[in-house]
């Protein structure tokens, strides 16, 4: 009898059994073995600190400083910040040497209501090493004041409970650690720079400061002994006055200003305000000087804000409450913004819905093939079969022909199928200094299947998700996934058939456009020289409800044109109320929006870009002057690798022409604009434009020339007063402030409305400003409108 173990079948079974046992043992051992000690376990978050104590302006950025410690070998880690329920994260990757520590500042794009941020530390493979949640708080309608000083002054700010609105939140900042991107300051509406050595700050920090002010920030420069050091390194635009020697300041004007007895003494420096700065206080040694810079403001104090005598002065809270006000306030009620940036960025994001025209495949050959086919299967085959008298063969030949042509058609179609992806980039480039521009781009993408795009970025480009919105042509959402900072290439993940996008922003170095409006006694000449090194298209200068188009400009080319004749005073307000986008594109937009019209989406993007450059919410458009030009490509590096995709780049360059002139000049109506004070209520009328609501109290109407014309010595001032309701037939008193005598003068035989011509107006227009006061029964007039034209002499 054979040994059963020797039978081949049994041997095979034993072999399989042993193999299975061995395999099971291996699996058990491998599962049961302790995992190798991970090097990542030695990296930790040793500190996470949000800037401004976690307070942020809704929709803006919040810097978060993260301290890292690596007790293990060198490795690359990523710090990620995620808001609750957000689909994207801001990330920052850093290489950590073994046994090292590192500190990084991650800018977190905030939404409008987040109360916490989840900070996660991950290794290169995305494995979580540590995490921490930090508490944050949105602050809407509050004055967030950063105090950048070596020794932060103590200010007697009004208490929250003593204010009706706009309470203060103050945060100390290290003046040497000011951010290098405007985003780092975006949550602040006020910044006090005092007792700081600005000569030592980085040029990028200076540019950041300038960009922040231009976009609506209010910078307050401290005076006193540290005044010279505080202004030493600042750009000239941010210094409204030259600093002189120390002196005892005349504090009398503070009594009226703060409605309290003036402080006994206040030591400060002598300020010599620039022509376009508005001094407050004694002419020889003003207490402060103000200048508007873009949408923002700079207030330069003659005194040290931290002076003990000031701190103990009972009027100090009122002083700060009136002086430390945001340069701009938009909206009302629950939604108050101190910068138009959220509105403008929303406009940019919404413009993404105007997608580019798709790449239409070349369908001609296919239609030609099918036309041939229609002839073939119809008369072609029939004639052929009739010729051989075998028509019944059609039952075989016709399907065969359909099969062959169908296969050829499908093959042709497959080889010619277009790329369904769409990439759209809309950029706004705002020149903020002769060599620096603030660049913002929205990038929107659509793909038929989920895909990750690589996007090359500039050296300091910040990315954030666009705010979700429902635009005219469909919804737009933020790109999900990680948005890396401090990287050359970001990976952008886009879901299938969703229009998703990011907003990129950066301060870029680019030469400014040389644009001027030259004033003379009889005409105004618009001159633009293209010093940008780029081709400029459809260059146009807009100001005071009028525009002059200069066409295309090649690099280094120059173009000149006469400014249009001035508008009559009576129609100027209406022109001023016309949106700039309407002035520039009105005819084309009207044609597209007419009955049966189909509006060109490129035109809609242009309209959105212009609005994004100038819109100020309830304040209408920014006054200007502006020079707009369209660029062929955005100077902001944001290149998405999507070969074959349909795409478009629409880029608007916005710059400000210089207003120049010498000798006798005239300033057309509309250039001198009404500037409502923060406590005035703005009203709008279709026919009359923007005005202020009259009240039983005397109403002060402040009219201001552009900064460049602030040195104008006025000879003739022409005013036109109008009102929404009928002007009271008696009992209205109209006065104009005379700066020479510091008194209000009443023009003879004029109690409004209509035109008022004042000759010898040198004392009525000082520092580019004229102030009209109306009292009596003026509250019956409702909304008040005023337009002004000036003629005078420029030095």
């Amino acid at each position: 009898m054979p040994n059963p173990c020797q039978t081949p079948r049994l041997r095979r079974m034993i072999f399989i059994l042993v193999s299975l046992l061995l395999l099971s043992a291996l699996i058990t051992i491998s599962v049961g073995l302790p995992r190798p000690v991970s090097a990542q376990a030695n990296v930790s978050l040793s500190g996470v600190r949000p800037a401004f104590a976690g307070n942020y302006a809704p929709g803006r950025w919040l810097p978060v400083t993260v301290d890292l410690r690596n007790d293990g070998p060198a490795m690359t880690v990523t710090v990620a910040a995620a808001l609750p329920n957000a689909s994207g994260r801001n990330t920052y990757s850093v290489e950590l040497a073994g046994g090292s520590t590192a500190q990084l500042t991650l800018l977190v794009g905030m939404d409008r209501q987040a109360r916490s941020i989840q900070i996660t530390l991950e290794d290169a493979a995305g494995q979580r090493l540590a995490d921490q949640s930090i508490e944050v708080r949105p602050r809407e309608g509050e004055r967030m004041l950063g105090i950048a000083a070596i020794n932060p002054p103590v200010l007697s700010l009004p208490l929250r409970e003593d204010l009706v609105n706009l309470p203060f939140l103050a945060f100390p900042l290290n003046p040497n650690e000011l951010p290098t991107e405007p985003a780092g300051l975006s949550s602040l509406s006020l910044l006090l720079l005092s007792d700081a050595i600005t000569a030592e700050i980085d040029p990028r920090q200076r540019d950041t400061l300038l960009a922040w002010v231009r976009s609506g920030g209010h910078l307050i420069l401290g005076g006193g002994t540290g005044a010279a050091a505080t202004i030493a390194g600042l750009p000239p635009e941010l210094v409204p006055a030259a600093v002189g020697s120390l002196t005892a300041l005349n504090t009398d004007p503070l009594a009226d200003y703060a409605a309290a007895p003036a402080p006994a003494q206040l030591e400060g420096v002598t300020l010599s305000p620039a022509p376009d700065a508005r001094p407050f206080g004694a002419a020889a040694a003003p207490l402060w000087a103000e200048r508007d810079v873009g949408l923002g403001r700079v207030t330069q104090l003659a005194f040290d804000p931290g002076l003990r005598s000031l701190r103990e002065w009972p009027g100090a809270p009122t002083l700060w409450n009136q002086l430390l006000v945001p340069a701009q306030l938009y909206g009302s009620g629950l939604s108050v913004e101190t910068t138009p940036d959220p509105l403008r960025e929303q406009t940019l994001s919404s413009a993404l819905a105007n997608l580019p025209a798709i790449n239409l495949p070349s369908s001609g050959p296919l239609f030609a093939l099918l036309a041939f086919y229609a002839i073939l299967v119809g008369p072609g085959v029939a004639l052929l079969l009739r010729r051989i008298d075998r028509q019944e063969l059609g039952w075989l030949i016709l399907p065969l022909v359909a099969l062959v042509i169908g296969a050829a058609g499908v093959g042709l179609a497959l080889t010619r199928r277009p790329d369904q992806r769409i990439v759209s980039q809309i950029s706004l480039i705002e020149q903020i200094s002769p060599d620096v521009a603030r660049a913002r781009s929205t990038l929107g993408m659509i793909t038929p299947r989920a895909e990750t795009f690589a996007a090359n970025l500039g050296p300091a480009t910040l990315l954030r998700q666009v705010q979700a919105s429902g635009a005219a042509f469909g919804p737009i959402n933020g790109a999900p996934g990680d948005l890396a900072q401090n990287v050359a290439t970001a990976q952008l993940t886009i879901d299938a058939w969703e229009l998703q996008g990011v907003l990129a922003e950066e301060l870029i170095t680019t030469p400014a456009l040389d644009a001027r409006l030259e004033l003379s006694a009889t005409a105004i000449r618009a001159i633009v020289r293209n010093t940008t090194g780029r081709q400029l298209r459809d260059v146009i200068i807009v100001f005071g409800g009028q525009a002059v188009s200069l066409g295309n400009l090649a690099p280094d080319a120059e173009m000149q044109a006469n400014w249009p004749p001035p508008l009559p005073l009576s129609t100027t307000q209406s022109a001023l109320n016309t949106p700039i986008s309407q002035i520039m594109l009105g005819a084309e937009l009207a044609a597209g929006r007419g009955i049966g019209g189909r509006i060109d989406r490129q035109l809609l993007i242009r309209e959105a870009l212009i609005n994004a450059a100038v819109a100020q919410g309830n304040l209408g458009d920014e006054p200007g002057p502006f020079v707009f030009a369209w660029l062929d490509a955005s100077p902001l590096t944001l290149d998405v690798a999507a070969p074959g995709a349909a795409g478009q780049q629409v880029t608007l360059l916005v710059s400000r022409p210089i207003l120049t002139g010498a000798g006798q000049v005239f300033v057309p109506p509309g250039w001198m604009r009404l500037v409502p004070t923060p406590n005035q209520t703005i009203c709008n009328s279709v026919g009359n434009g923007r005005g202020v609501i009259a009240s039983p109290e005397p109403v002060t109407l402040t009219l201001r020339l552009p900064n460049d014309l602030a040195g104008l010595r006025a000879d003739v001032l022409r005013l036109e007063l109008a009102s929404e309701r009928p002007w009271p037939n008696a009992g209205v008193r109209i006065e104009i402030f005379d700066a020479n005598t510091q008194t209000w003068v009443t023009p003879p035989s004029y109690d409004g409305p209509g035109e008022l011509v004042l000759s010898g107006a040198g004392a009525l227009v000082t520092n580019g400003q004229a102030i009209v006061r109306l009292s009596g029964r003026i509250d019956e007039a409702g909304c008040l409108f005023v337009t002004a034209g000036v003629a005078g002499t420029l030095p």
């Binding site: 798709i358 086919y373 919804p475 969703e498």
Partner: protein, 333 residues
């Protein structure tokens, strides 16, 4: 025993159908009109890719698919009866019907043979239109399920149309009268139901008419089959939606509620109804074709009854599937 083969009739019909210029003309018209319809849709859409709401290639594909499907369905509706409307009346007019009766062919063989021959020609036309779909592949946006829904609906319509033509041919025994009767029924069914549904909607504050109003309408059926051809969700109601093409036909089947669209699969109920109607018409035709003793009940009626009962059972078993197309649209739809 009688030969139950259909071949004699089919062979005869297949030999004669493609003879003459009528079939070539029909093929040319059918394929040519479908191609022209597609090209018109393409021109209309592609001419505005840069203005107005954004358009995607997938949507162009869908619009062309809908245009092509509507063209094919419309042609099928009107050509299907034409393929059979003279099949029996022609025999009467040529005085060959008595000869056919003298052959061993049964009425069932004759009718099925005539029906299949007409259907085969119609299917040949549909088959010849398939290369046109290659243009849709060029643009994309249409899935296999979309195509299948449409093909099944067209097929159901073809069967019903051929059966209607055959029935009219038998009833009138004159091609002229049969054609008049047949197309009068078609116009009444298509126009009348849509008119009734729209009147109902107007008199009910714009509410969507009950689906039962249009269940018999082949254009409503194809509209509901096409209504599910979804454009990319990115588009808003302002953006090109292929539904715009169907708006006149979708009363009772599709409604737009804000960004949400409710599409009833009415085509399922229509197909079931066409199946039942075809069976009933065929049964009636079996009786009407007899020269004498038309309503004498025989073995064939038993078979027909069994078939009808079987169909009824099938309808019962699949009621959830096809009744989904008959549900009322939500209030306010």
């Amino acid at each position: 025993m009688r030969d139950l083969s259909l071949m004699p009739v089919l062979v005869k019909e297949f030999r004669t159908l493609l003879r003459g210029s009528r079939s070539a003309l029909l093929i040319t018209v059918y394929v040519g009109l479908a191609l022209i319809a597609m090209r018109l849709v393409y021109n209309a859409v592609a001419g505005s890719v840069g203005s107005g709401p954004p358009i995607f290639n997938a949507q162009i594909g869908q619009a062309m698919f809908i245009g092509l499907a509507l063209a094919v369905q419309t042609l099928t509706i009107f050509l299907a009866p034409a393929t059979t409307v003279n099949s029996i009346s022609g025999e009467y007019e040529q005085r060959t019907f008595e000869l056919i009766l003298a052959t061993p062919l049964s009425a069932v063989q004759l009718l099925i043979g005539k029906l299949l021959a007409g259907l085969a020609f119609l299917l040949l036309l549909v088959l010849l239109s398939t290369p046109l779909f290659s243009v849709i592949i060029l643009f994309g946006g249409v899935g296999f399920a979309d195509i299948m829904r449409v093909v099944i609906t067209i097929f159901g319509t073809a069967v019903m149309g051929c059966m209607l033509g055959l029935f009219c041919s038998i009833v009138t025994r004159q091609t002229y009268s049969a054609t008049l009767l047949c197309y009068a029924i078609l116009v009444a069914v298509i126009g009348g139901t849509l008119f009734a549904a729209n009147v109902w909607s107007i008199t009910n504050a714009g509410a969507s008419a009950p689906a039962s109003y249009v269940v018999v309408n082949p254009l409503s059926a194809i509209a509901s089959a096409l209504g599910r051809t979804r454009p990319p969700d990115i588009v808003s109601s302002e953006t090109l939606q292929p539904l715009v093409f169907l708006s006149l036909l979708t009363q009772g089947t599709i409604s737009q509620q804000g960004v949400e669209r409710v599409v009833l699969p009415l085509y399922r109920a229509t197909l079931m109804l066409y199946g039942a109607l075809s069976l009933v018409l065929f049964w009636l035709a079996l009786h009407l074709i007899r020269p004498h003793g038309r309503w004498v009940v025989g073995r064939i009626d038993l078979i027909a009854l069994v078939v009808v009962v079987a169909y009824g059972m099938l309808a019962m078993l699949t009621r959830d599937w096809w009744q989904a197309g008959m549900r009322s649209l939500p209030v306010g739809a």
